[in-house]
């Protein structure tokens, strides 16, 4: 009959209306500034620069290779290379970014800079409360604001950070092993050369050892 569905619908809405006062579980709303939802681990918002150790200027992983700057689709990254070099985590002297700015108003959170970075230096942050009261200067995020510690990275993306750390440690170990091997090889070569040099007279069997 006409109107049957309307009565049914009205009953449903009345039930929801009264039910929302009776049972709190019905209300899915989270009262945001006071209550917060736990963010999923894969949350990404805006990039930041990872540094190792305590000093952000010394420990910055970025070597100013500018790959992210070139890959960034909306061109929101600006990098200036340094003139001098500083040692990276392996100890190899590398350039570092003298200027590293990201324009927050242009960034589209695509994570491409993170994908392309060969040094695991830039990662995505989960902080989403980024509004400022200055729409020009305030939205241009400088290097000192971008730099965040590896501990922070571990806090926001634990799994990913462990993986990165493992990789870096393996690389470092490899590099160290290589360096060690190189050193050994060098030493060996040197020793060999020395031995050779020492053995040179010996290899001349015809001539007798010169008397000392």
């Amino acid at each position: 009959m006409l109107g049957e569905g309307i009565i049914k619908g009205m009953a449903v809405t009345a039930k929801n209306f009264l039910g929302s006062y009776v049972s709190e579980e019905r209300l899915t709303t989270i009262q945001y500034p006071e209550e917060r939802q736990a963010l999923p681990e894969a949350t990404r918002q805006f990039p930041f620069l990872v540094f190792d150790g305590d000093d952000w200027q010394k420990g910055l992983r970025c070597v100013a290779c500018q790959i992210c700057e070139k890959e960034c689709p909306p061109k929101c990254i600006y990098i200036e290379k340094s003139k001098d070099k500083k040692p990276d985590y392996i100890g190899k002297p590398q350039l570092y970014p003298a200027v590293f700015d990201i324009d927050l108003s242009v960034c589209m959170s695509c994570q491409i800079c993170v994908e392309v970075c060969p040094f695991d230096a830039i990662k995505m942050d989960t902080d989403f409360e980024l509004s400022t009261d200055n729409r020009f200067g305030g939205l241009l995020v400088r290097k000192n604001q971008l730099a965040k510690s590896n501990q922070y990275y571990h806090k926001i993306h634990p799994t990913e950070a462990d993986e990165v750390d493992g990789r870096l440690a393996a690389e470092k170990a490899k590099a160290e092993a290589k360096a060690k091997a190189d050193a050994e090889a060098k030493a060996k070569a040197a020793a060999e050369a020395k031995a050779k040099a020492a053995a040179v007279p010996n290899t001349q069997p015809a001539s007798p050892a010169p008397p000392k």
Binding site: M1, L2, T13, A14, L27
Partner: protein, 392 residues
Amino acid sequence: MSDSLDQIFVTLNHWITGFAPGPWQPVVSALVSVAGIIGVFASLFAVTTVLERKGLGRIQNRYGPNRVGPYGFLQPAADGIKALIKEDVVPRAADKVVHYLAPLMVVIPAFLVYAVLPVGRNMVLVDYDAGLLFFFAIGAATELSVFMAGWSSRNKYSLLGAMRAIAQMISYEIPLILSAVTVVMMVGSLSTTKIVDAQGGYDSIGLGNWFVFTPWGFAGFVLFMIAATAETNRSPFDLPEGESEIIAGYYIEYSGFKFALFFLGEYMGLFAISGLGITLFLGGWQAPIEALEVIPSWGWFFAKLLALICVFIWIRGTLPRLRMDQLMNFAWKFMLPMALINIITAAVWHFMQPGWERWLVGIAFVAGSYVLLGRGLMEGKKLEKRTYRFAE
């Protein structure tokens, strides 16, 4: 005691008027009443916007506004300040004068109709003999202002919205007035105070003599409220402003305080037409049973008004928007014949002797026409669960 409380506002008006010099007294009395009406109904508007948002929120299992003031009840103040300080954008191609006048033209008739609404015993601003006619004549001016807004904006969406509004409002004006005609037939007067007086007194089981407690009155009340919903462009008849199709309909080009005025006008129209529904069918300011007469008459009027507003909010939270053809079919194929049959029902009721036969015939008329017309409206429609070919 209860009598003085009942007449407190009338006494107050007399007291204020007493300060004015003799010849000015009628003017001052009218001005005081007007100020009262505007103040009370404008604050009711503020309360209703909060109630509506909170009610809809609860229906959708949300909290609704709860930040500004205690339980969010100061939200309208914040909204008002926001509307006032917003930029007022007028499109370059708009007809500036008409564009400016349209929101005023919405608000003025919406307030004018309160002149004939009896909000309590002896509390009517002007007691016209043809008060009902005045109400409908002024109320119909809203259609003009809606079209002014739609046309002057020079925007295809606003024009579409205005076209829809005109089609809808004129279609529903007919059942609205025809359902009110039954009351005029019974009372024999167009005066709103006489209509309320006619519903005074109590019947054999102690219930008030409200018209809604008769078969024709009940049918008339339901028809009247459905038509009123359409007249005030409220959900499910909110096609003229359909956000999802034509963005905001006729007020798409309005911003800032003009937009707020449209909102005000819309709600004022809603209160006015609910007030008229109360006057016509729900016994105006009369109490439902004698024992409840301790509550002052104006208290009853506003209690009924708030109850009707809650029903409107409930309906808005329940029903989805109609399609244009459904809207028109409903108006012309169901509402209009139903209202016409209801007039016959009222006439039959009037000429039959009081008794159970009268009730039987009345109920048979109303229920029979409802079932048959409803069947006619549903004819050829297969109501089933919709299946999707490509989705899912």
